[in-house]
Each structure stands twice: as structure tokens, then as C-alpha cells.
Amino acid sequence: MHDKKLEIIKKVKENDVRFIRLQFTDIAGVMKNLAVPISQLEKALDGEIMFDGSSINGFADISESDMYMVPDLDTFVIFPWRSANGKVARLICDIYLPDGTPFPGCPRNNLKRVLKEAHDLGYSMNVGPEAEFFLFLSDEKGHATTQTQDDAGYFDLAPIDLGENARRDMDSTLEEMGYEIEASHHEVAPGQHEIDFKYGNALHVADAIMTFKLVVRSIAQRHGLHASFMPKPIFGINGSGMHTHQSLFKDGQNAFYDPNGPDQLSDTARYYMGGILEHARAFTALTNPTVNSYKRLVPGYEAPVNIAWSGANRSCLVRVPAKRGVSTRIEVRNPDPSCNPYLAMAVMLTAGLNGIKNQIEPPAAVDRNIYKMEDEERAALGIGSLPGNLLEAIHELDQSELIKGALGQHIYEKFRVGKLEEWNEYNMQVTAWEVTKYLTKF
């Protein structure tokens, strides 16, 4: 621990780092930074930097304001790009109360708690995320637009894809920071891209997803572009999802793999999947936490709507990729990149573990296109659907003691209040669609 501290101090000096950003993610999934000058480095490393928790919307009450930021020294990294203020480094922190106990409203602490429950059962969780995002042009004020390069005339200058260039810069920056990229490519919609991370330990991957978003945004800005993780920015084209591959390991082996099981999947894998399918309606509020998330979960755009699983079918909620052995896993396809990865993983893991505990058998695989089925057929096959909007999703969450427990009382309450506010605000808006449709009709 002491060695790590010394190593960090050394690296900071060698690289002429001017600022350390102490980072944590709030309940809404937004990364918060507290920039601390190098003169405070030792204090920061010792977890003595405090901040006012009530200053962050929906995080803590005014009565529980003093909080400590305790850095996870393994997350120390120096951002490779140069800025006008020299180099900047960061540490991801857990939030603690003045009495030394972990703050229950800190999503990272919460994930650690749930991972410990899994650990006590002998399991560790591995996750591989596939995050999609859009790169739009920034306007003359440096603000985001929904315009992509295709209609902006840059090809007149040279046949270069600005987004492609930016994405390669992102890949090399992430790799320089120590992350392993498994794949990086253009996605279906114009201006849409995808970067897949190598499978890893759930907590590291949750940290990686938050870091990834920060890096993508920063690099995009350096390219005169704006990166958006909004689930459905433009009607009529594909939205951005974050398919989440996951598996459990036990005693160093993949607990989902059984060479003698049906389709070489173990009972554990089937029950985990059974748990996911059983509790999907309850946890959707966390995996798809914005009003806009539900605009993506509609038929026809490769996003799941129905609660079913299959090996190849992309209209299902859960897909089981073909690889076996150490790479055996299930792919949960509904999460989108607006989610808080710490909360999303906590609820999915809890659902899966519940499936294992109660030996929940999943229904039969559905290998046909569900979008094209009639309602009676879906009902006959027992195929349910995900909540249709954020309000419905919150009501489902309210009914599930299991998923509420996965969040803990504090996070559940704060999350709920925040989301209902969001829903009410949205509901009150008068949209352009309504005006066009009704203004002259009535």
C-alpha cells in the first residue's frame, strides 16, 4: 500500500503532472471530478480530502454532507493527451462517511458489496461491454449538434473519415492508459461507432466504462466532434446500446461451462440466465435509466423488446454466443450506455445469483424473429416484454424486493426520486410531434 503511494508520487514528479482528478460516479451515472493540485497529493492519497456530498444533486441530504474521498490506488493513471495546463492524472475514489464507514449512496461501494455476496458463494463476475456511441459535429459555439460528417462537405477537402480518425485516436489513448480493446469499428448508423473492451473483473470493467466515456468525450472534443452516449438521439436510425457479456468464475474456472451439459452450458449458466429473464422487468430501470432509453427499445432496430433468449437471434433480451470453454458467457442486450455501470452490474448479478439460488430454469430458446410474431403467439410461448417507458420500469422496480435490495435503501430511494422527477418533467413537455399532429386537427 505504502509502495503504491510512493510509486504514484514518483510518477507524478517524473511526468510533470499538475493536477489530480479525484473521480467518482453519482447515482445518475455521471462522473464527478474534484481537481486537486499536486501540493495536496499526499493528503489525497491518504483519503483525507473531503467534499460536501449535499452539493451533488440527488446524492446525499444536507444533514449527511461531509464525505471523504478514498482513492483506489490501482486506478491511478495519467491521461496521455496534453492540455494547456500540462498533464492531468486521476484516481477513482470510494466515498466514506466521517465515521469511517462506506457511504451507502456510493454506487461503487454498492457494487463492491454485491460482489462480496457473490464472492462468499465462491463466485467472481466477469464482464465484457460493447459500448456504442455517436460522433456528431460541434457547432460554432463548441456545442453538440446531431449533424454528422456526411452532410458537412469535409470530403471535398480530403477523403478522410473524421470519426474513424477520432476513434483510432481513442483506441490508442485507451491502450496507452492500459486498457485492452478487443474490437473497434464503425456501427450501422451514420456517425455511429463501437468500442469493445476485453472481458474482465466486474469492478475494473465498471471503472473502465466510466473512464472510457471520459476518454471518448475528451478525444472527440480534440477532433472538433462531440461524442454522445444518448440511447436514441435520432428517430429512424439505430440507437446506441451497451450489450453486456457476463459470466461467473469459480475456483479459477468458468462456472458457465460444462462440456457435458446441454449445448455445453452448465446448470449454473442456465439458472443465471433464468434469473436474468425472471427479473428483467424489475432491473430495466437501472440498465435503461433515461426516458430516451425506451425510445431505443422498439422493434426493428436490433434492440431487444421481448424477454426471451437464443443463441443467434438478435431480437432477444439474452443471447448466448457460440464460444465455450473459458469464454462461455451470456450477452444481456438491453443495457444502454446512459446507465450507471456500477448499478447495472449490481442488479444483473443479483438477478443471476437469485436464479442460481432458486434454480430457475429459463424457458425454451426462441430462434425465430420475435418482432414478426403475433401477440397470441408470443403469449403462447410465454414471451413477455420489457417495460415500455421509464415510469413503468420504476413501478416494476418498486415491486421487487430483490432488486431494491441490490441497490440498498439509500440508492433505491434517491434513484427513484430522481427518476420520477425526470419522468414528470418529460411528461409535461409539449413535443413538436404533438403540435404537428394536433394543432390544426382540433
Binding site: 500540462g86 459535429l137 460541434s138 460554432e140 459555439k141 463548441g142 477537402l157 473524421l162 472538433g224 466532434l225
Partner: protein, 164 residues
Amino acid sequence: MLKSSGYLVEAEAANAPDLLRKARTTYPDLVIIDSSLKGGSMQEIAGIIEGDEISSVLLLVQEPKYKFPDSIAQIQKPYSDETLLTVIEVLFLYKNRLCDAKQEINVLKDRLQTRKEIERAKGILMKHFGIDEAEAYREMQTESMKRSIPMKEIAQAILAAYEH
């Protein structure tokens, strides 16, 4: 005015993000930024263009009040056409010298690395086969000539085989 002095103006940018996009599309030799640039801070944009080695930057500033960590070239307004042209000429002159120096440095870095690898490979051969330095070098040289592969690759092959 610039064109008539023999320079090719690749593009003009309307604002900061547009500037970044065009610079990264055309990779010009020089980017001139006026202090009236909208949509971003001149320092930040200059820092990005020089930091990511897209181009050299020349700033046209109101007053020389900005301090830049890596000293970016600037002219104070108002300025005459002659001043601008002279500064651009000088910038290109030093840019070319800098490019040449950088290239030489890279060549030297390469050579140093190769020499280190050859030394290590020689050491391995000496240890494993009980031969002296001259003989180890001769062995490597023979293989290199026989297979028409550079010494550097022979050394790397030896390191790969014995060090892992």
C-alpha cells in the same frame, strides 16, 4: 495576399471545432489562428494542434498576455503584411530545421536500440555456447548474410528464443 506570396491556402475555418476538423483532414504545414476565433479558447486549440503534432501554429493576438507552456509563435496586432510574411518565412525555416533534427534523432534512437539488442544477443550466445565476443559477432553476421536478414532481426530472434 498569402496566395500571391506562393503559399497554398488549404482551408479556412469558421470556428474552433471546424478548425480542428479541417486541420485533421488536411494536415497543413501551418495553422494561423486569430484571437477572434469563436467556439473555443485559442490557447486550448493551439495546445491541441501542437500537442497532437498536427501542424505548427501561429497566433495573431490582441496583446501578448497569454503564457504558453510550450512557447507558441505569436504576432501582436496590428501588424503589417510584411511582418506576417516574414514571420511565416522564419517559422517554415525553423520548422524544416526542426524536422531534420527530429529525423536524425529518430535514426540515432533506432541505431542505439539496435546496438543494445545486438549486445544482449551477443551476451546470450557467449553464455550459452562458451564462445568469445568476436566469435559471437561473426556467428550472427554469418547468419545475417546467409539469410539476407538485417543484424537487428537476428539479434531479436536470439532474444526471443532465449529470453522467454
